[in-house]
Subunit: 350 residues, 2 copies
DNA sequence: AACGGCGATCGAATCGATTCGACGAGGAGC
DNA sequence: GCTCCTCGTCGAATCGATTCGATCGCCGTT
């Protein structure tokens, strides 16, 4: 009893050949109901729970597992509402195909490199990590694993699922400009994960690791021209609040009339900081975000933001991955975003 | 070029046998540095990225993948700070072993049942789902996949990682009792996922799906005896707030002097509702939670709660799983919890 | 010089299923 | 009644690496 029965054993017990037994388990119509029945009951007698997935995978050349790389540490990704919706969209599609989602920490050195070599992946989705030079990406490519990248770099042979970050922020900036704002500041997500905070200069900007962050800067500049941008160390409410205290705690005549946060999470921090400083939103300062995340805990306040289809992004990425696995050539995708005007933007103080 | 090179091809190219090539790749000390070098450069020439994980897995009998079942839908699990910390603890340990984490939606019918049969798992961790009668559990057991259950049922041959829910709530209840409270109410997490809300009666309670919820009821009753308990439909802030409005929006003489929420998330909802109703905490009503989650967005308020080591729970579960895979027999585990008294509990109004 | 020992390399079996082409029997058509 | 076709079943090759035990050669020893 130390060893589990194999398909061959079941076949022998049922008095059929292994091939027939295999057909029976795969539910092929080429096998007689009676025979199938015999095989199944033989399996039941022997306590055989079905073909070994490992062996089947080897033969088929597919493991039924798709890897998702989420930034740096999983914990951070889990805290990001957008990443979560993205993952949810991915699992939704993969689940319906009977494919499992393997979580991998991207943007990091040793562990994942080793993992990638040992874990059978049918395809990989780079979900929320910059990767201009990710070793994991190269390794997977040389292994021939199909890859889908969400908001990542344009790489040959890799399917890209993107959203129109630049256009979205441009629309948002125009909205603020139309309201009369002329002095705005940007609260930026990290350009790379080195824990740095502070105003972004040209040198720093050129070392940006994340494409979406850059695009969201550019969108604002399309309307306002050069604008001061303050980089946060991570995309978190507390980070946004801390940065906003720096930006807003200055005399009114030098204060920006609008703060454009690059994410709703950061914007929530700005709202918190503004309240703490006794500034009214939008009377004293307008606040805008990006993502269209669920911020119901803000109460009656509805954030002016750019809504992106996070879950749709996940579904699209997963579907592209499935198509790649099937041997297809899905096209790159650019998903639209829409401006949603809430209660946090208004005319600048006169 | 349509087909990738195999280890055998590399071996031939390097002028060694496949076995030696394999040894070279696995970094065995039994192979001469010179030979290894020759094999590696042959691999580089042929564009061979290393042994196929699928084939290696079959031979080894291990896939390097461990499955984590999280309740119902991943999206909900992702919203739960405890579940997230748990997953983070799991990934931390698995990552250090070079093992991947496969996310699976438990507590659901079709898709996972099918997935389980097709995906090679070395072990499974049931993370946050009740499963008195989960078909996935049975299926995995009959397949011989080692299983670790976090706060799940006691099943023969399954390792249990648990926390002392009952003792924790008991300590908390005693704290409130010592303060003078005599009329308390419980705000409970769902007993099962059928979307039901309302006071829990005996019939409902007997159909409970989740053990931790039951234990947290019992802990309170150990001190106060029978106590009204209001069940929420899901563990979310908004749910807690909605339920708290029902519990608190009554004349003061009929109102509970303390609300014991079964999670910090629910407790946050209670605080929200109390504020909306104009009730001061803890002067008008004391509020307590469970988990010790990060609620820094509450500001200065520090919730009285029972702190559980969520990440430690994850690490312990993952380590137990690794030990099972290695053929060991890790013991069941009961992790301690500690009462943390914050600013939300005080004497009852006189 | 012969022998023993040791370490590097090789052969061959194995992991467990899938699948393609072949084969045989039974039924339909002429 | 004979042939042809079809449907169900079987054999055997294959997926790609790992690993145990055997082999072969080299070096040190007496």
């Amino acid at each position: 009893m130390s060893t589990r029965p194999t398909l061959a054993a079941v076949a022998a017990h049922a008095g059929v050949s292994p091939s027939t037994a295999s057909l029976a388990f795969s539910g092929s119509p080429r096998v007689t109901p009676g025979t199938r029945e015999r095989v199944l009951s033989a399996a039941a007698e022997l306590g055989y729970a079905g073909p070994d997935p490992l062996a089947a995978s080897l033969r088929r050349g597919r493991s039924g597992v798709i890897g998702a790389f989420v930034g740096e540490r999983l914990l951070y990704a889990f805290r990001d509402p957008v990443a979560i919706q993205l993952l949810d969209g991915i699992t939704e599609v993969l689940g319906s195909h009977g494919v499992g989602l393997l979580l991998l920490a991207g943007d990091t050195g040793r562990p994942s490199t080793e993992q990638i070599g040992r874990i059978p992946l049918d395809a990989a989705i780079f979900a929320t990590c910059g990767l201009e030079d990710d070793p994991a990406l190269d390794q997977l490519r040389s292994r021939g694993v199909p890859i889908v990248v969400v908001e990542g770099p344009v790489v040959d042979g890799v399917v890209l699922v993107d959203i129109d970050d630049r256009r979205g922020t441009r629309d948002l900036a125009r909205h603020l400009h139309d309201l009369g704002h002329r002095r705005v500041e940007i609260l930026a997500m990290p350009l790379r994960l080195d824990g740095r905070r502070g105003f972004i200069d040209a040198a720093r900007r050129s070392r940006a690791h994340y494409r979406d962050v850059r695009h969201r800067l550019e969108g604002v500049e399309d309307v306002f021209g050069p604008v001061p941008a303050f980089e946060t160390a991570s995309n978190a409410v507390a980070e946004g609040a801390a940065a906003a205290r720096v930006l807003l705690d200055v005399p009114a005549h030098r204060r920006a009339t609008a703060v454009i946060a690059q994410s709703d999470v950061l914007a929530a921090g700005v709202l918190q900081a503004a309240a703490a400083l006794g500034l009214r939103v939008p009377e004293d300062v307008s606040v805008a975000g990006f993502d269209g995340a669920d911020l119901s805990w803000l109460g009656a306040t509805r954030l002016t933001t750019v809504v992106q289809p996070s879950d749709e992004k996940g579904r699209a990425a997963a579907e592209a991955a499935m198509e790649l696995v099937a041997g297809g050539h899905p096209p790159d995708l650019l998903l639209p975003v829409t401006l949603r005007i809430g209660t946090t933007s208004g005319p600048p103080p006169s």
